[in-house]
């Protein structure tokens, strides 16, 4: 596929991610920090986010499926997930975390389990979207083009 088409496809895809609320302005901030001294910065940070989140989701599952749930521990994990998702601009994940923390405060196990399912869904959705975004970038570079700026 011709470079111009690849670039257009990339920009269209990226723009829907913002419109559908998967990503917010913080993701743009991340992209703006990428430069010649750290040309893979966005990929590196997002990879850290993936690793961190999957560990947290497993921990949350373990903690919430105990007989006696330690809600403080659940809250601490959700707080972490909320923080890292906010840091990379994963807006929908962050928003579910806000609701999740309310369920923790109410010590509502059912509510928490529901939130866990939701946050897990949102996480895997955004992960998939970001992986697609990175793949589109790679295609452009492989074709000899440069990745267009979104701002």
């Amino acid at each position: 596929m011709e470079i111009g088409n690849l670039q257009r496809r990339y920009l269209d895809f990226a723009s829907t991610l913002f419109h559908e609320g998967f990503l917010d302005n913080q993701f743009t901030q991340l992209q703006q920090l990428q430069d010649e001294s750290s040309p893979e910065f966005v990929l590196e940070v997002v990879t850290l986010f993936f690793e961190d989140s999957e560990k947290l989701l497993d921990e949350l599952s373990r903690t919430l499926n105990q007989q006696a749930v330690d809600f403080k521990k659940v809250d601490a994990h959700v707080h972490q997930l909320k923080g890292s998702s906010a840091s990379i601009g994963a807006q929908r994940v962050k928003n579910v975390c806000v609701a999740f923390r309310n369920c923790c405060e109410e010590m509502n196990q059912e509510g928490c389990l529901r939130c866990l399912r939701q946050v897990r869904n949102e996480y895997f959705l955004v992960k998939n979207k970001l992986e697609t975004l990175f793949a589109l970038e790679q295609q452009i570079v492989a074709a000899g083009g440069s990745v267009p700026m979104m701002w």
């Binding site: 913080q26 901030q29 920090l33 940070v45 961190d52 890292s84 840091s87």
Partner: protein, 131 residues
């Protein structure tokens, strides 16, 4: 603007960043390096104190508030109570906007309090506060 002199006579500001989140550590380190600061990033207050004990040539400490084992506030207190370390400005970062927490930190001697996610404009603001 004060700065530390390295072995080769080059003036470079050295910031110690403390955050248990790997994502946030990468972010704050990048933000600071983009402003040409030398950065050492550690994941706990304990490691921060170990480093400070070995290498007091740190011009600023920037720490997350909520960390397991030792909070940023506890780290702040220890630094301000130490005769060797107390002149190092300490900046606290937090994802939560809690006025009582902010006040407590400022009263304990924090130089500034930044809300996460930290922006480049927040980092430029800190420039004048370096020792």
């Amino acid at each position: 603007m004060a700065s530390s002199r390295g072995g080769d006579g080059e003036r470079q500001i050295h910031v110690l960043a403390v955050d248990d989140s790997s994502v946030d550590r990468a972010m704050i380190a990048k933000l600071l390096r983009s402003s040409k600061y030398k950065v050492t990033a550690v994941d706990s207050g304990k490691k921060a104190l170990e480093l400070l004990g070995l290498e007091p040539n740190v011009n600023m400490i920037i720490t997350d508030y909520w960390m397991p084992e030792m909070t940023g506030f506890e780290l702040l207190k220890i630094v301000k109570e130490s005769s060797e370390l107390r002149q190092i400005p300490v900046v606290i970062m937090s994802s939560e906007n809690v006025p009582s927490r902010i006040n407590r930190c400022l009263e304990e001697g924090a130089e500034d309090f930044l809300l996460k996610p930290v922006r480049p404009s927040d980092v430029s603001r800190l420039c004048s506060r370096m020792r």
